[in-house]
């Protein structure tokens, strides 16, 4: 089955300030997209808007899954429809064990029609699956009993995000700087895991992945089919894996020169950010 996540002319404002100014992007399952761009260009804003963060107001445009507009859906409904985001800075939830949280989440995502209070997936099967996934990610079993992101190191948080993705088996995954704060070995493990999860998702149908990154390491094992460059709240250029390499080594000077309008928007946003 080929599912499609389609973003059309998306404008997003945060606290009344326009950040995204008309983003177009189509992701099919099985495709890997890299989203690159300088700080403050709107990459994370796009991720949050797709996931349905209430603080990110869509002022124009649409987000559709297989032609159905999902803008009115809250984050929970989007998760159940198969969207996942690995957070750049995951929140901690003291007192709630990873295993309990994940069992609840997996139950809801796998049975989108489940009503509150109905039974969770069987403890036995869940434990078995969790154990398996944790061992693939080289996570200690004790991890399942720790409180969600509470006192986790940067690396542990990122691995926990990948673990959640593995358990929730999304159709579309947004990885928001999942490689930041990781050392070389950890990035390698993370990218291998992401590639492996992508293959096994939902009975063989692969994930559509949007990788937001500054670096090229994560892309070693997840060679993008498409690389998009975001500048000033717009995707200004799309290419293949070679574009990702170029940006990583050469930076954004060529892009800024080629798209003066977007570069001006970027400068404006940066100025607003510093005056706030």
């Amino acid at each position: 089955m080929s599912d499609t996540l389609k973003i059309t002319d998306l404008h997003v404002a945060v606290e009344g300030k326009p950040i995204l100014r008309g983003v177009n992007l189509t992701i099919n399952r099985g495709e890997t997209h890299a989203l690159m761009g300088p700080n403050g260009s709107g990459k994370s804003t796009l991720g949050n808007a797709i996931m349905g963060h209430p603080g990110y107001e869509v002022t124009e445009g649409s987000i559709e899954i297989n032609g159905e507009d999902i803008l009115e859906w809250d984050a929970s409904e989007r998760a159940r429809a198969g969207i996942f985001m690995a957070f750049q800075r995951p929140m901690s939830v003291p007192g709630v064990k990873m295993a309990d949280f994940l069992r609840h989440a997996a139950t809801n995502v796998r049975n989108p029609e489940r009503k509150e209070g109905e039974d969770l997936i069987s403890m036995r099967e869940f434990r078995k699956e969790l154990k398996e996934k944790m061992s693939q990610l080289r996570m200690d079993e004790e991890f399942a009993r720790r409180y969600v992101n509470d006192g986790f190191s940067g690396g542990e948080m990122k691995r926990a995000e990948i673990l959640q993705m593995a358990m929730l088996r999304p159709k579309f995954a947004i990885l928001d700087e999942t490689d930041s704060g990781l050392d070389v070995d950890a990035v390698k493990l993370a990218s291998q895991s992401i590639a492996a999860i992508s293959q096994e998702t939902d009975g063989g149908a692969e994930m559509g992945i949007l990788i937001i990154t500054h670096h090229d390491k994560l892309l070693d094992h997840n060679a993008p089919d498409f690389t998009h460059v975001m500048l000033g709240g717009k995707i200004v250029e799309t290419g293949g894996v070679e574009l990702a390499r170029e940006l990583y080594t050469e930076g954004y000077d060529r892009i800024r020169a080629a798209y003066p309008e977007a570069a001006a928007a970027e400068a404006e946003l940066a100025e607003e950010a510093t005056t706030v």
Binding site: P54, D74, M91, V93, V96, F101, H104, N108, V148, L168
Partner: protein, 472 residues
């Protein structure tokens, strides 16, 4: 004269079959004190119980103290006409209430908690007595062999007068506060426990198994004596909502823990929204003894309760874990007191409060170090969680230190359920209600894990019920 306790026919229909634990004990005499409070009513209570003179005098003196004391000018607002309350109801008089009188929300909660039929009747005040004699009987036999006494306080006055009189009213004297005086004048029921030297009871003693209208009444009086080197964990109350047509609950709990003894007292109370719950709880811990209070408060209109540990001799320890959940129309003024009266004593308070739907919770705590209590340590942590902008939380920490060489720490935090936290959980497929509920459960986890298993499960269900419909 045996009294017919059969409830009206329509109740039976509503409640289904009589449960096998549904024992009814015939009682002699029928008495219902008239409304209001005076020496005549107090004497009548004493007459009915056929009490010794010292107890009658204790009651009457307490009444005078009650009348002489002003209302507390702190805590919450108490709008109560003391002359409009029944102070003593013989259980046999409760039959006037019917199942139909019980509010629907209480019935719904029983359903959701899965409370057995027979207990529902008791908890709702429809049925006068609920006793599981099988459980209590075998429990008693086992304990009796070790010399443990576990009975209701009225029985203790008759059967263990010397032991009871040595401690009764010494830890919380009637002049301690207005409501302690009130309880001293009109008390009825409560538990009396004595654990002899060196006896360690390795399972929690539960009032739950022997609840009846007297022991769980409005003015119960509990006294626990833990002798040297002995250990006990007492669990009081139950998590189902206690419904009463009377609006005042005022209990006194006195505990003595002697040298090297340990006592843990766990309470979870969930009162109906019309109740003033004004309770005095205090323990005295002697050399190297440990006293722990675990105190959970849900429901009520106003709760004022501050379990205290007085550390009387060197090495004594006091630990208090307190949790309050205030919802619409509720004010939880709860906290704890640690009083260091001897050198090298140590105390710890952990207080957690949750406010939602306009509820108000206050932490009110005292840490006192008396002159000479060198080397004492106190640590207080109080965290408040506020679920919406209408709700409120306050912290009133009182610290009185009369000694130099001591260590007192106080940390307080107030947090609101944040949009980011909710979004994170919802992005994993949890609904908004499930996400809030999970954040709240996590917040009170430190208390829940201290509870016996069945109470922990029930407490979690209660929190879920409280959270239902709180968002949207």
């Amino acid at each position: 004269m045996a009294t017919d306790l059969t409830a009206p026919a329509n109740d039976e229909a509503a409640l289904g079959e009589i449960n096998k634990y549904d024992f009814v004990t015939p009682t002699t005499g029928v008495f219902k004190a008239r409304k209001g409070l005076d020496a005549e009513v107090v004497s009548q209570i004493s007459d009915l119980k056929d009490e010794p003179d010292w107890m009658r005098e204790f009651r009457l003196e307490s009444l005078e103290i009650f009348e002489s004391k002003p209302m507390p000018n702190w805590g919450g607002a108490i709008n109560l006409d003391f002359q409009d309350v029944y102070y003593y109801l013989k259980p046999t008089e409760e039959q006037g209430k019917t199942w139909d009188d019980v509010p629907q929300e209480i019935k719904d909660t029983f359903d959701k908690l899965g409370i057995p039929e027979a207990e529902r009747k008791f908890l709702a005040g429809v049925k006068a007595q609920f006793e599981s004699e099988v459980v209590y009987g075998s429990l008693q036999e086992d304990l009796a062999e070790k010399g443990v006494i576990f009975t209701d306080t009225d029985t203790a006055v008759r059967e263990h007068p010397e032991l009871l009189r040595e401690y009764f009213g010494t830890i919380i004297p009637p002049h301690d506060n207005k409501f302690a005086a009130l309880n001293s004048a009109v008390w009825s029921g409560g538990s009396f426990i004595y654990v002899p030297k060196g006896v360690k009871i390795d399972f929690p003693l539960q009032a739950y198994f022997r609840i009846n209208a007297e022991s769980m009444g409005q003015f119960e009086r509990t006294l626990i004596i833990v002798d040297e080197g002995a250990e006990v964990h007492y669990v009081e109350g139950c998590t189902a909502p206690m419904y009463s047509t009377e609006s005042l609950h005022s209990a006194v709990v006195e505990i003595v823990v002697k040298k090297n003894g340990r006592c843990r007292y766990t309470t979870i109370q969930n009162w109906a929204n019309n109740i003033y719950n004004l309770v005095t709880k205090r323990a005295m811990a002697y050399e190297n003894a440990l006293m722990e209070w675990i105190d959970g408060n849900l429901g009520s209109q106003l709760t004022m309760k501050y379990p205290a540990v007085y550390m009387m001799e060197p090495g004594a320890r006091g630990e208090i874990l307190s949790i309050a959940f205030a919802s619409k129309g509720q004010h939880q003024d709860a906290g704890a007191k640690l009083v260091h009266c001897a050198p090298n004593t140590s105390g710890r308070i952990i207080s957690k409060s949750i406010s939602k739907n306009g509820g108000r919770s206050s932490y009110r705590g005292l840490c006192k170090v008396e002159d000479g209590a060198i080397g004492s340590k106190s640590n207080v942590v109080c965290d408040a969680l506020i679920l919406d902008p209408e709700s409120r939380s306050d912290t009133y920490p009182y610290i009185e230190v009369e000694e130099q060489d001591v260590q007192i720490e106080h940390e307080a935090s107030v947090s609101r359920i944040g949009e980011e936290q909710l979004f994170y959980l919802m992005s994993r497929g949890l609904t908004e209600a499930e996400a809030s509920s999970m954040i709240v459960s996590g917040f009170i986890e430190p208390l829940i894990k201290e509870l016996p298993m069945e109470y922990a499960v029930e407490m979690n269900r209660l929190i879920e019920l409280q959270m239902e419909g709180s968002v949207g």
